[in-house]
Symmetry: C2
Subunit: 354 residues, 2 copies
């Protein structure tokens, strides 16, 4: 279907079309577990330096592909580029993760929130997308991505990572209208951002809802899923006659996959807690599934890895619609040789299911 691609197994699996094996990529595949990444990051000076330079972003995006026969590339960037472009002042303090200089702490700052000018303020991202596409030269498809409105709002209200999300939940339960205002503005920004990535060359897009799993059932549907629904509705679905599939990933969202499938998304990302066979029974006739090996399996021996890979493949079972992935980003402490064992196991063991 995508004649310029040498390997389009990933896109076909997302659309539940036949493939010869189960394609795979890894969340955070361009990351600290790779020595070549750490070397580039040193040269870039900082993590944000990497994200904001299309040259560096292209370099690290390609690194895992040069090491392993992965079936997709993913734009190297950070989900917090969007709130940064909204003027919140993203910075990284050593050992404490991302922080904002100007978090949303009162009604005035919330009501003053505006979607960024993507063409101007996030140009470095779309430039990276174009440059990566050129560099890939059709080897594998390129995935664009964004954080979900709820997850971005968490960071914007908390001012950084949080253990208990006390600030954002207090706002959500005490001042739901203000929370909805943040989410509305952010959802609009995410739609524009993802569509700009698609225009620049992203061939699939993924929404990372890292924190939606911390919500109650009803709060998840009202404050996270409803805004991902808007994004699915607002995304460009086809470019130059080719489908652009989308993936929704709520970490800890296994309980709600029927609702996620109801958005009309093409695929659902699963963390490692849900049995992928059970998930397929619930929604697999409507969407593809992406996942779901526990990243901690990669700390074990190649034999143990192979056996856990077989469990995931066997649980999904026969037929298309499965993109193999980890259930969460790969740990920086992973031995790169163990990743090779996983990639080989997926490609070899999955053939019998196709």
């Amino acid at each position: 279907m995508n004649f310029k691609l040498k390997n389009d197994a990933f896109l076909r699996a997302l659309l539940r079309q036949p493939t010869e094996y189960t394609p795979l990529w890894m969340m955070r595949q361009a990351g600290r577990f790779l020595p070549e990444y750490r070397e580039t990051r040193k040269r870039a000076g900082s993590f944000l330096g990497l994200c904001k330079s299309p040259d560096f972003a292209t370099e690290v995006t390609m690194q895992p592909l040069d090491r392993y026969p992965l079936d997709a590339a993913i734009l190297f960037s950070d989900i917090l580029t969007v709130p940064d472009a909204m003027g919140l002042g993203l910075y990284f303090s050593d050992g404490e993760g991302p922080k904002f200089e100007r978090p949303l702490r009162d009604e005035a700052s919330i009501m003053a929130l505006r979607a960024p000018d993507v063409e101007r303020d996030l140009r470095y991202v779309t430039d990276a997308v174009s440059q990566i596409r050129k560099t890939l030269d059709g080897r594998v498809p390129l995935i664009g991505f964004s954080g979900s409105p709820f997850t971005l709002s968490c960071y914007m209200v908390e001012g950084g990572s949080s253990d208990d999300y006390a600030k954002v939940k207090t706002l959500m339960y005490s001042e739901p209208k203000l929370m909805h205002h943040i989410l509305e503005v952010t959802a609009g920004a995410v739609i524009a951002y993802l569509n700009a990535q698609i225009e620049a060359g992203a061939q699939a897009v993924m929404i990372f809802d890292s924190w939606g799993g911390m919500l109650s059932h009803s709060a998840y549907h009202e404050f996270s899923l409803a805004y991902m629904q808007r994004i699915v509705d607002g995304l460009i679905k086809e470019k130059d006659g080719v489908r652009i599939p989308n993936i929704i990933f709520t970490k800890g969202g296994g309980l709600w996959i029927e609702g996620i499938a109801n958005t009309g998304c093409d695929a659902i990302g699963l963390d490692w807690t849900m049995d992928i066979g059970v998930a397929r029974q619930k929604v697999g006739s409507r969407v593809a599934l992406q996942g779901n090996l526990d990243p901690a399996v990669l700390f074990a021996s190649p034999d143990a890895i192979r056996s856990e890979v077989e469990k995931v493949l066997g649980s999904y079972g026969f037929g298309s619609g499965h993109v193999f992935n980890l259930g969460h980003g790969i740990s920086q402490h992973t031995n790169p040789d163990n990743v090779a064992a996983m990639v080989t196991a997926v490609h070899e063991l999955s053939r019998k299911y196709h």
Copy 2:
């Protein structure tokens, strides 16, 4: 059924017998959110000083009952008393939570692990249970508790809290036999410990599986649920002709409640992520359900609290078998007045469902 108790609504709800309203208690109800607790802890000198003195443990156990009309008391203690009694050397370092001086780090220390002598090494706990029962004088039932074998093993292998459970998962995937050995010894210890609490006067017991939710579907069943099954099988079920109900709580375990119900436990604790009405449809004809308000709701206004309480009650619906609780321990930053609003709301609003 329990004629010595002035209020046995909690026990009746656990056995799915009729009650006039939905009984409630709160996980961590004897805790830092109460100024009187903080005062007692200061006098005790330390958290472990509180746990190890039956006088202090009784004092803080009673504090929330003196402030609110709660329907159950829970022994004040810590889940890590068991590994401490196994010789691992529990201590608390400020701001970093619990730690062990001698974590399980090699095969020799794992194979040397022995169940504690409960009568000798955990006497301070059973003494506290007896003293609390006497002090309660039949006001409400007393809950005893333990950590689950898997959760205790996590702490024993990691040496303290962990973000990624890398050490315990590495052991589990690389050396499953060693992991099973730790779990077997620990499960035996937990059975002896809970039965000693029952003999000393605990009228219901709860197993806290705080970390089982970090496992994959198959690992949860193999490494956590299988050992909770052994505990359910090994527990004293009746004392002096009165049933002693048990509750299993796996935080993040909503996906697996059918399996949990299959253990034959009396009740399942639910965190706040699963809709309690959906949970009831799945397993409510076999077990009672305990939960499941998001503790963060208590950061909101009394009106918002009342409305969220109504959502939980309404979702469970008509009839018995529901013990109201938070989905996790109450935050130390909670305003005690907001707890009063919740307690009143539960007692008032639940009558129409009974």
